[in-house]
């Protein structure tokens, strides 16, 4: 319990630093949302009016204090481009991204674990090379490339999945999953490479341990030894590494969600950034950072559940 509180404290500290950095960086960005709303129709007079009505003219420190105060008190402000309470936007979009992230993680693990185990069992043989090369191919081309390939293959040519869009899970959960599948698959391919590598090295380490020899000496079949005895030990570290990839995933969904019109946090962040919607940028960045760190925390806790050594320690 103290361990959890400890971690939580460091998360809060980091989040505080994130607010500082985010605020500084977003305020360095030239251009503002008033300019984006007015576009090429803007003239100085009109811009000044709009800025005033959007509250962009307050001193920086006042804006920062108001923002952080709002974060704490639950008043997260309004998006300047969407004219909606940010909290409302975020609560919708985070569900979409959660579905996507979880799904892509599942896909990545479902591909990476067998591939990594296979490579570890046949270490330094051709199987190992095939496994690592195919994993490498996944990272040799950017996410969006795989995204478009998915759209062309599974939506256009095979017609198995919708090419784009998003359905509220509360309306049609099955539809949400269908819409999430292709972007999740594309993301999963990118993630897979790293996870395969880690599974392989973790499994290699485990397979050389004494208890594996003991298990074999007990007469257990190779299948039991590898898929039960060894994998049960590998799953903890692999999940921990997978958890650390959540940050990377939240970077990737920015591109992928925009590509698939799958409007989650990534899409929202991108819109906010492109439109210089500072309150929205700040809140999305903050939320993503918080989610990333809380997931890492959750993964650590999950590890405690999986691994009895830490459970009581």
């Amino acid at each position: 319990m103290t361990y959890v509180l400890n971690r939580l404290l460091s998360v809060i500290l980091t989040l505080f630093m994130i607010t500082l950095v985010t605020f500084a960086v977003t305020n360095i960005l030239p251009g503002d949302v008033a300019m984006m709303i007015m576009g090429t129709q803007s003239n100085p007079e009109a811009l000044a009016g709009l800025r005033q009505s959007l509250g962009l003219n307050d001193p920086i420190l006042v804006q920062y204090a108001r923002w952080v105060g709002g974060l704490v008190s639950g008043d997260w402000g309004n998006s300047l481009i969407f004219k909606k309470p940010i909290l409302e936007l975020l609560s919708q979009k985070i569900v979409a991204s959660a579905v996507l992230v979880v799904m892509s993680m599942c896909i990545a693990l479902a591909l990476a674990i067998p591939l990594g185990v296979w490579a570890a069992v046949h270490r330094d043989k051709w199987q190992d090379t095939v496994s690592s090369s195919s994993a490498l191919l996944g990272v040799s081309l950017p996410d969006f490339f795989w995204g478009i390939v998915m759209i062309l293959v599974f939506a256009r040519w095979l017609g198995w999945f919708p090419s784009s869009g998003f359905v509220e899970p509360s309306v049609d959960f099955w539809g949400t999953l269908q819409h999430a599948f292709l972007p999740a698959l594309a993301l999963g391919l990118g993630l897979m490479a790293h996870l395969t590598r880690m599974t392989r090295s973790t499994m290699t380490g485990i397979l050389s341990q004494e208890f594996i020899r003991v298990a074999r000496a007990k007469g257990l079949t190779e299948r039991t030894v590898i898929w039960r005895y060894a994998l049960a030990n590998a799953i903890g570290p692999v999940i921990t590494i997978a958890g650390l990839q959540i940050g990377y995933l939240f970077g990737s969904i920015i591109v992928m969600e925009s590509l698939f019109g799958y409007t989650g946090m990534g899409w929202l962040t991108y819109q906010a950034l492109l439109n210089r919607d500072l309150p929205l940028i700040q809140d999305t960045v903050f939320v993503i950072a918080a989610v990333v760190m809380l997931t890492n925390l959750a993964v650590d806790l999950l590890y405690v559940v999986i691994d009895p050594r830490i459970r009581l320690g």
Partner: protein, 515 residues
């Protein structure tokens, strides 16, 4: 977020789009009688942002909201201002008051009947700076709004504002909202348009349903779903797989391919906007007209249009709307003459290899990047070293538009602007959109003179002279008019009614789906 056009603005004279062509799988569709029913699924190229018609500046939101709102006046295909929610309008001889007679029994989506109070409310809301309306300055000279009875509105002006009516016909300023609906317009837009707002999932879809009591008769479609799909390939795929009935903004390079495809119909219209290359007049070399003219001579506009627009447009030496009286038909673009350009540059003191120019192009318009790349090759041949800097839209706006921190760039504007607005704000030295810092006394004089010239023909003549001067001095290099595009399933009917005369808005009132 790409290809965002900003239509909001200002102006007056609206021209009708000239339909370039519709490629149709079947010739006989027009003979079918429209049937009612069905939901049209539209793959919208952009993200709808603010749903409040007054506060929204982007074409994307306007394109959708156009179906929810009706304007007090609008334009016909010949771009004449015609009554919309009013039966008639009248301008006092002194030009200081406008009288609108409203249509009786116009129903808002909430069931209420429109009265003069709603009009007064809408105008005042738009005028009030606290609203943050992007068109607030349309009402700058409005002194008072009187409502003698339920169906009469009199707008009193403190000074003459000739383009007032034309600018009211723009969707932002002239829309009528029910009294006190302002605070909820952002979340639940309400007006008197052919479709009612149903729901909006940010970034995903706007759903609209037929307004049965629409003053001009109910629409055929039960509902319209505007799905927001910003990625061109994805949008195109959606049309091809049949997930979408219709998409707007077909990537220009794909129009030819789709026109050859019997499974979809493609509609293109002309013109959507014009593009021009800008040279910053505060940048030393560009203060010399010879350099600007030489630069014009380096460019083969037709080849550039074929290269960057894949032929989806037409070159023009003038930015005036092609059918407008002000369009100077005598003007011809300079043909490409690289040797001549070299000579002229040398004469201007810039021999081969001495000019290094940075061309800032925004990734918001991918064809600008292609244009720039083609230019680099020609300029290289002419001994000018052009390097490209790609900017996001926000960076372009802040660097080029506001801070004028660039040497060369390019931009596009809607073609439909009223001449005064167009030439005064863009080329007059005090113009609001003179981001090139052009200071040409000839143009300043001409544009000022036009403002006080009452005779239309004489005014048109003055603007022709302005065009001549822009061309002669090569203040900017006017390139072309660009086409607008729509792709649809063969079953979607009434596509020729969908494009609003302003060339950007889409109106689904008369669209129907064949069973």
């Amino acid at each position: 977020m790409k290809r965002r056009d900003f239509l909001r603005s200002s102006t007056a004279v609206l021209g009708s789009g000239i339909f370039m062509g519709t490629s149709l799988p079947m010739a006989a569709w027009a003979e079918d009688a429209p049937v009612s029913g069905g939901t049209l699924i539209w793959g919208h190229s952009e993200t709808t942002q603010n749903l409040d018609m007054h506060q929204t500046g982007t074409a994307s939101s306007g394109r959708v909201l156009q179906n929810i709102h009706s304007s007090i006046v609008t334009v016909d295909k010949d771009l004449n201002v015609i009554p919309g929610l009013c039966e008639s309008f009248e301008v006092a001889p002194d030009g200081l008051s406008y009288t609108f007679k409203l249509r009786p029994n116009v129903k808002f989506h909430n069931g209420a009947t429109m009265t003069s109070a709603d009009v007064k409310y809408s105008f005042e809301r738009c005028k009030d700076p606290a609203t943050g309306a992007v068109n607030f300055e349309v009402f700058n000279n409005v002194a008072a709004i009187e409502t003698p009875d339920d169906l009469t509105v009199i707008v009193k002006m403190s000074a003459i504002n000739a383009p007032f009516l034309s600018r009211l016909s723009e969707n932002g300023a002239g829309v009528i909202m029910p009294v006190d609906s302002g605070p909820t317009q952002g979340t639940n837009p309400m007006g008197a348009g052919p479709f009612k707002f149903v729901s909006y999932e940010v970034g995903t879809v706007v759903k609209m349903a037929r307004h049965e009591e629409y003053w001009d008769g109910p629409a055929f479609l039960d509902a319209v779903e505007a799905r927001e799909i910003t990625e061109p390939t994805t949008r195109l795929t959606g049309l091809r797989t049949g997930e979408l009935h219709m998409i707007n903004d077909i990537p220009l390079d794909r129009v030819g391919e789709l026109q050859g495809d019997a499974a979809v119909q493609v509609k293109t219209w002309f013109p959507l906007n014009f593009d021009f290359i800008n040279m910053n007049h505060t940048f030393e070399p560009f203060q010399n007209p010879k350099v600007r003219v030489a630069f014009d001579m380096i460019i083969d506009k037709e080849a550039l249009m074929q290269g960057a627009l894949w032929g989806q447009g037409a070159t023009t030496p003038s930015p005036s709307f092609p059918t407008s009286a002000a369009y100077n038909k005598d003007l011809k673009q300079r043909p490409q003459d690289i040797e001549g350009a070299k000579a002229m540059l040398a004469e201007a003191g810039y021999p081969e290899g001495s000019l290094n120019i940075v061309f800032k192009a925004t990734t918001n318009y991918p064809y600008h990047i292609e244009t720039a790349q083609i230019l680099v090759e020609w300029f290289k041949a002419a001994g000018v070293n052009l390097t490209i800097e790609q900017l996001t839209w926000a960076d372009w706006l802040s660097q080029c538009w506001v801070d004028k921190d660039y040497q060369m760039t390019m931009m596009n504007f809607f073609s439909l602007w009223e001449s005064d607005f167009l030439y005064y704000s863009v080329w007059n030295s005090t113009g609001a959109f003179n981001y090139r810092a052009i200071k040409d006394p000839v143009i300043d004089d001409l544009t000022a003179k036009a403002r006080i010239t009452v005779d239309d023909a004489a005014r048109a003549d003055i603007y022709k002279q302005v065009q001549q001067q822009i061309w002669a001095e090569s203040h900017d290099i006017i390139l072309w008019f660009r086409n607008g595009t729509i792709g649809a399933q063969p079953a979607v009917m009434g596509l020729d009614t969908v494009v609003h005369p302003n060339g950007s808005n889409l109106n689904f009132h008369k669209v129907w789906i064949k069973a």
